[in-house]
């Protein structure tokens, strides 16, 4: 096939290495905070331009990976520097670049200590996360997957809240434990197939016992990242203690890496074991939606509430992926499977916008009041009308109001679930009630009512910088909510490819 790319720059490598090198250079601007802010913003904007370029030159009608780069890296172990993207990756890369820009703008005045190190951590993190989304070699994927830990560890630990040490170490060890089992699985697949190329693994035949233990090795890694019940307990701690930017990146992008791992590794490489254990994932997802939703209801810390709501919403991602698998395998219903997968992917992007926005909202309040406790607020609408407008809007999106992005993904997943079993759909649909309950109650207590105390009375409304951050998130939420077609088109061929692959058994005949 002819190369349709309008230019031959290694676009994906640039998307990975521009932020990383930029981050290292930001470190060198240590003693001049303003210079490092502008420089970091410049690098982040440059990456955003690159990802826009990626989106424009991406051909969503093709099934094959695009912008492929392949170089020998470690020939002794047959590890390649292999990059490539499909629609799902492009969407997530765009989300990553956009969020990093907003995080850097958001930190402009709220971070005053060691500014250069803060910004450098985020830039390096951005490059590494983009690397996760475009690695076509399993070992390269793993390197990026793990390299995220150190910058995030530093971000939570240095600029975090009072219990930051506990939260950062818990975050690191949970993720490290999860991924090291995946490493053993990767080595096993390498010894079996003689290569680390994901494309080779997709056609590899594996017996059911092999698939089963590999499935669980991958499950631990990705379940911790998503996070799924019962390995979610690191998330509330990490979110609560992390600085605003850290929470935004964690919620908006890092959690997506778990979902991305399922569609890149578990489902296409181990379809039979995934099908066999789909009931487990579906059950855990429903527990996340219902039980964690109830847990969110009783939180008195805003960030913790949003963290739990993140877990509940990510339940839809895993539910959509594995409902799709069950549909295509047991009911031979590929259209339904595509609906579920598509819903899961849209939910990933949408949750990226909404959770990022919600955490930014809390950040706006925290910068002024230095407390996250709900009881310290009340009647904020009287002093901060603009802020209240945005906050209510994002809260509505979080409950899945039609017309916002939150509705689209969840509705698709519920529709797909209904085709499998009305009972599962019913369980998933409780989120509409629970989500509305905890979010609206939060809004009621924080925003509405009488001015609670003199601190609230002295609040200043948002400045231009904050309006830009929240406004951008709002545009994203509205665009996906009102007109999701560009997004679903972008991911369409990747999703249909995945649904055909899921149907094929990899058991040796």
């Amino acid at each position: 096939m002819e190369n349709l790319m309008p230019f031959t720059l290694p676009l994906l490598s640039l998307l990975i290495w521009v932020p990383i090198v930029g981050g290292v250079m930001t470190l060198a601007l240590g003693h001049r905070p303003d210079a490092s802010r502008w420089f970091a913003l410049f690098i982040a904007l440059a990456s955003l331009v690159l990802s826009v370029q990626l989106y424009q030159s991406f051909d969503s009608s093709q099934v094959a990976m695009q912008f492929v780069e392949r170089h020998d890296w470690i020939p002794s172990y047959k590890i390649n520097y292999a990059l490539g993207v499909d629609g799902i990756s492009v969407a997530l890369i765009g989300l990553t670049s956009l969020t990093t820009v907003l995080v850097i703008i958001g930190a402009w005045t709220s971070i005053t200590q060691r500014v250069h190190q803060y910004l450098a951590s985020f830039l390096i993190l951005q490059g590494v996360m983009v690397g996760v989304f475009c690695a076509l070699d399993a070992m390269l994927f793993y390197v990026f997957f793990e390299a995220m830990l150190i910058p995030m560890f530093i971000i939570i630990g240095v600029w975090g809240g009072p219990r930051r040490v506990y939260a950062s170490i818990k975050f690191f060890l949970y993720t490290f434990l999860g991924s090291i089992f995946m490493l053993i699985g990767l080595i096993y697949l390498y010894l079996k197939s003689g290569s680390f190329a994901l494309a080779d693994w997709r056609s590899l035949q594996l017996t059911m016992p092999e698939q089963t233990w590999l499935f669980f090795a991958f499950l631990i890694a990705f379940a911790v990242k998503v996070p799924m019940f019962p390995v979610h307990t690191w998330l509330p701690d990490a979110h609560v203690e992390a600085p605003t930017g850290g929470s935004v990146i964690l919620a908006a992008i890092m959690l997506k890496i778990g979902g991305y791992g399922f569609v890149r590794f578990s489902v296409p490489i181990l379809p039979d074991a995934s099908d066999h254990w789909a009931w487990l994932i579906v059950a855990l997802s429903l527990i996340a939606v219902i039980y964690i939703g109830l847990v969110a209801l009783v939180q008195d810390d805003m960030k913790k509430l949003i963290a739990y709501s993140s877990i509940a919403h990510m339940g839809f991602v895993t539910l959509g992926i594995f409902i799709g698998l069950a549909l295509v395998r047991t009911l031979d219903h590929p259209a339904g499977a595509q609906l579920g997968l598509q819903g899961a992917m849209v939910q990933m992007i949408s949750h990226g916008f909404i959770s990022g926005a919600m955490f930014s909202c809390v950040g706006v309040l925290y910068d002024r009041m230095h407390t996250r406790m709900i009881r310290d607020y009340g009647g904020v609408v009287n002093t901060m009308p603009w802020f209240a407008t945005f906050f209510v809007f994002f809260a509505m999106a979080n409950c899945g109001l039609p017309g916002t992005s939150g509705f689209v993904g969840e509705f698709m997943v519920i529709l797909a679930a209904f085709q499998r079993s009305p009972l599962i759909a019913f369980g998933a649909a409780t989120t509409l009630v629970l989500g509305a309950a905890y979010t609206l109650w939060l809004v009621k207590r924080v925003v509405f009512g009488k001015v609670a105390n003199k601190h609230v009375a002295e609040l200043q409304d948002m400045n231009l910088r904050e309006v830009v951050v929240l406004g951008t998130f709002a545009i994203g939420v509205l665009l996906v909510g009102v007109y999701p077609k560009p997004l679903t088109d972008l991911m369409g061929s990747a999703v249909s490819q995945l649904s055909t692959e899921m149907a094929v058994s990899k058991l040796p005949r």
């Binding site: 390197v143 530093i154 240095v158 490493l183 053993i184 080595i187």
Partner: protein, 482 residues
């Protein structure tokens, strides 16, 4: 009479010997400022020897040559080990310069003993018979005992040296006992001959008995649990510049010892010694990691972490195939480079009156000296096995070796302990980055000249090699024909 053909493969060893003699002479006559000459002579000797290793075919992988009727074997595996031993020892020399000068420790003794230790290691890794092997080992051991006692006024140093000497002699005794059994069973001292006889023998009882003692001796020299008791005390008690040396290069030599004895000699009995190494690996991983968790002294914590790293190395050795040996050698090289940097960071924090050794000495380092903190961060991340640093790839190689040998359980044990191990390395990062510095930190930062450059080079090397580790791995694999 030795012929020229015999002596040619020994050129690097002869160079080190000549250097050692030259150092003895200089030490006799030089005084005051000229003592810097000792440092440069030592460095030049190591450099020349490394050059001669390369000239002998270290990189090109020239044919294996034997000298002195097979007593001495020059092959690629030996060359790789010699080259890395020389490089790491040169690192140790550079790190030691300021430390020795600040404390008025005998520079002559340090450099001379280091040279002899290096010579012992080089003989050891090229040994073709049990005699040469033991000769090299003892030369290394005796020099190391004396090095640990370098600071004569330090009670804890003398105690460490004594402990090292007693337990080291015990392990040499074990090894010698095992060797005598092997000799009795095969009637040969030559490793190749032992290999041949062992391969044909019907009854392995006597040989097995000997091999069990050999394994114990090897475990002692490595410091693998449960034969690790000497290690934390010795590492802690020795002057830090000596710890840099004995914590790194001898691990490479110990790998050479294990490879020569177990593969070149007792190779046909692999099925018997494999499980022994596997259990030693499990014990070392468990004891090393769990004890490291509770240490407050960084030096001691790193010593216990050494034990856990030895456990990982044994994961590769117990595979007993060329891939496994290559993985273990890769691990030994990586570990040696990490250990020099880790212990050297303590040198940087030490000053005349205060020897930094507690984790608390690193408190708030990021606020005091961000560059140094970043370097220590790189080293700790590498030791913890976080990609893309060199330490991760070493772990990948040995885990692969374990899976290759169908020891999934062993790989899982290794993985679990890697996570536990990560915790105490993280604690160091936490202290440096998350905590505020003390009001009046006891540890002055000795961040000048060569120390700074050397540590920067060493730590960045871990990152650079982590991004491009193929040459080293290819070299290791070529050495064993993998």
């Amino acid at each position: 009479m030795p012929t020229l053909a015999d002596l040619l493969p020994l050129r690097p060893e002869l160079a080190v010997l000549a250097g050692a003699c030259l150092l003895l002479l200089i030490d006799m006559f030089a005084s005051g400022r000229e003592r810097l000459l000792l440092f440069w002579t030592a460095l030049a000797t190591l450099g020349i020897a490394a050059g001669l290793v390369v000239l002998n075919g270290g990189f090109a992988g020239a044919e294996t040559t034997k000298a002195f009727n097979g007593m001495f074997v020059r092959d690629l595996a030996g060359d790789v080990l010699k080259f890395t031993i020389l490089v790491v020892s040169a690192f140790a020399c550079v790190y030691a310069r300021t430390y020795l000068a600040d404390r008025n420790l005998s520079r002559g003794a340090f450099h001379i003993l280091l040279m002899f230790a290096v010579l012992g290691m080089m003989l050891l890794v090229s040994a073709g018979s049990l005699v040469t092997l033991y000769l090299g080992l003892e030369l290394l051991a005796l020099s190391s005992y004396a090095l640990v006692a370098l600071n004569r006024d330090s009670a804890i140093g003398s105690e460490a040296a004594m402990k090292y000497f007693v337990l080291g002699s015990l392990s040499s005794g074990m090894l010698l006992y095992g060797m005598s059994m092997v000799y009795g069973a095969t009637g040969a001292l030559d490793l190749a001959a032992i290999h041949a006889v062992a391969g044909n023998a019907q009854d392995h009882t006597m040989l097995m008995f000997g091999v069990a003692f050999l394994v114990v001796g090897i475990a002692f020299k490595f410091g693998a649990a449960p034969f690790h008791m000497w290690l934390p005390d010795v590492y802690q008690g020795a002057p830090t510049n000596v710890t840099v040396f004995i914590g790194s290069a001898p691990k490479l030599a110990a790998f050479g010892l294990a490879y020569r004895l177990l593969e070149a000699g007792a190779g046909p009995l692999a099925a018997h010694w494999q499980p022994m190494l596997a259990w030693l690996a499990v014990l070392s991983l468990a004891i090393g990691n769990l004890f490291a968790l509770v240490q407050t002294s960084l030096k001691r914590m790193l010593a216990y972490s050494t034990i856990s790293h030895v456990g990982f190395l044994f994961l590769g050795l117990s595979n007993a195939t060329p891939t496994g040996y290559a993985a273990a050698m890769f691990y030994a090289i990586s570990y040696a480079l990490m250990a020099t940097a880790a212990f050297a960071s303590l040198i940087v924090l030490s000053s005349r009156g205060h020897d930094a050794e507690d984790i608390d000495d690193l408190r708030g380092l990021n606020a005091r000296n961000p560059w140094l903190a970043l370097l220590v961060l790189l080293v700790m991340a590498s030791l913890a096995g976080v990609p893309p640093f060199l330490g991760f790839w070493a772990k990948l190689a040995v885990l692969r070796a374990a899976l290759d040998a169908n020891m999934l359980w062993l790989a899982i044990v290794g993985a679990v302990f890697a996570v536990i191990g990560a915790f105490y390395y993280l604690r160091v990062i936490k202290v440096m980055y998350f905590d505020a510095p003390a009001e009046k930190p006891a540890a002055q930062i000795h961040d000048d000249g060569d120390l700074r450059w050397m540590l920067s080079f060493n730590a960045l090397l871990l990152l650079a090699l982590g991004l491009a580790w193929n040459p080293i791995m290819a070299w290791c694999m070529q050495a064993f024909g993998a």
